[in-house]
């Protein structure tokens, strides 16, 4: 399997030949930043196009098909259009918080985006507290949404932000509990080690029943965390216009749109990292010939393929279930998912201690 750290090391030695150490580091940092930005924007564009096309097919429509072949440039055109819209500032808003909120939302998704293991040796941030770090920075997004709703000084945004805040903090517990189950099972929090440990078989297979329960809980909570699908009541457009970002116009609104789609990618990416092996190919312990064949498929394809499958499931949710009421939403979390999550955590501890796993 191709190791991308060969490429990065080659760039490193190449740069060090021609310039002092600080210069080489500076160029590398700029390269990393540019690569992250490009990937971030590209994934967002691809996701917006994909979502519109998939939604259309679910409803027996054609979806965007005018701009470019199969409407491929539709989301690029939308991006340009959103850039040339006027930025309206509201008279009675809290100007500072109003402008700060998009920064927080984008930062939360960018920092978690940096932790994604895109392929072998293709990862920017790899802390020894990786999973914990992901949980910590992803909760900055709630702050951004609450600030956006509060600072706009509008009733719609206030209600939308409060609903969104209650929903996101509640479902963060379930995400934490299912992440905890994986950490107990693996015995490490570092993302690269988590992937490495799954070379014998993905956690969802080696951890059998408790891991499958944790995966299902993670999927439900992750969908709620991104304010999508059946859990989109913060921006229920028939009652709250656009929820917490009603007062944002032009590219200000674009940031929320961008962050929403990237958050979906991040939730799917973490699901594939924790349960489906990250970039690790499908390995079955003992089947060496099979494992060899699977290794020929590049790691990047594995990661993006698994993420795409999980994202498709999340999109599927949206068109299958009707929107929940807020009391049903909180009931589902506090009376079902949290107790199940705790019992499941105990189950995982038992199978880890007594070695009842593959």
């Amino acid at each position: 399997m191709f190791d991308f750290s060969i490429v990065t090391r080659w760039i490193d030695t190449f740069l060090r030949e021609y310039m002092p150490e600080w210069g080489a580091l500076l160029v590398e940092f700029v390269l990393i930043g540019v690569a992250l930005l490009l990937l971030y924007a590209l994934i967002a564009l691809a996701l917006i196009y994909g979502e519109r096309k998939i939604c259309a097919f679910f409803q027996c429509r054609l979806g965007p098909n005018r701009v470019g072949p199969y409407g491929l440039f539709q989301s690029v055109a939308d991006m340009i259009k959103i850039l040339i819209k006027e930025l309206i500032s509201i008279k009675h808003s809290d100007r500072f918080l109003f402008n700060l909120a998009p920064y927080l939302v984008i930062l939360a998704s960018m920092l978690t985006f940096g932790c994604m293991p895109f392929g072998r040796g293709l990862q920017v941030l790899d802390f020894n507290i990786g999973v914990f770090f992901i949980m910590a920075v992803s909760s900055i997004g709630v702050l951004g949404i609450l600030l956006a709703g509060w600072s706009s000084n509008n009733k719609f945004t206030l209600i939308g932000a409060m609903r969104s805040g209650a929903q996101m903090v509640s479902y963060e517990l379930s995400i934490g509990l299912s992440m905890l189950a994986v950490v107990v099972f693996a015995g490490t929090m570092q993302t690269s080690q988590l992937v490495e440990l799954q070379s014998r078989g993905w956690f969802i297979f080696t951890g059998h029943i408790p891991m499958i329960i944790a995966f299902v809980i993670y999927l439900i909570a992750g969908t709620a965390e991104t304010n999508r699908g059946p859990f989109d009541l913060p921006e229920a457009e028939s009652e709250l216009t656009a929820g917490y970002h009603t007062e944002y116009s032009g590219i200000h609104f674009g940031f929320y749109y961008l962050a929403e789609y990237l958050n979906m990618f991040i939730v799917a990416g973490i699901a594939s990292l924790l349960f489906l092996g990250g970039w690790m190919p499908l390995h079955i312990g003992g089947w060496d010939a099979f494992n060899q064949v699977m290794d020929y498929i590049p790691s990047v394809v594995w990661f993006f393929g698994k993420t795409a499958v999980v994202m498709f499931i999340i999109m599927w949710f949206k068109w299958t279930f009707p929107r929940l009421r807020i009391d049903q939403l909180l009931n589902l979390e506090w009376k079902y998912l949290v107790p199940i999550g705790f019992v499941n955590l105990l189950l995982v501890v038992l199978i880890t201690i007594f070695g009842i796993h593959f």
Binding site: F29, I32, G33, L36, L37, L83, K85, E86, L87, I88, S89, I90, Y103, I106, L107, M110, L111, F113, G114, V124, L125, D126, F127, I129, F132, M135, S152, N153, N154, K155, F156, M162, G165, A166, V169, E172, G176, L177, L180, V183, V184, G187, T188, E247, I251, G254, F255, I326, D327, L330, N331, W334, K335, V338, P339, F342, L346, V349, L350, I353
Partner: protein, 116 residues
Amino acid sequence: MNLSLLVVVFLTGIVLVTAALLIAWFISPRSYNRQKGEAYECGIPTHGTSWMQFKVGYYLFAILFLMFDVETVLLFPWAVIVRDLGVAGLVNILFFLVILVFGLAYAWKKGALEWK
């Protein structure tokens, strides 16, 4: 190295927002209208401010969340080494977990989880 990379990713996020805002600032049209700065409403002028006291139900859930989130912080270090600790580690954390679950049961019994 990792910490400097963290700063790089952080700055990338800030650069993304700032650059997009600057581009939009330069190429977007601007027009003035007295009505434009008003808060968005369903057609009539908005009534009073929105910075007011709000439904207490959200506050209750925030308090509950605080309790369980601190618990997660405490459980993560334990989770890393539970494989080595064995049964002793499970028994020790059970005291903590049982108290926590009692907290949830109490809130449930008191009706804090009902949305009114």
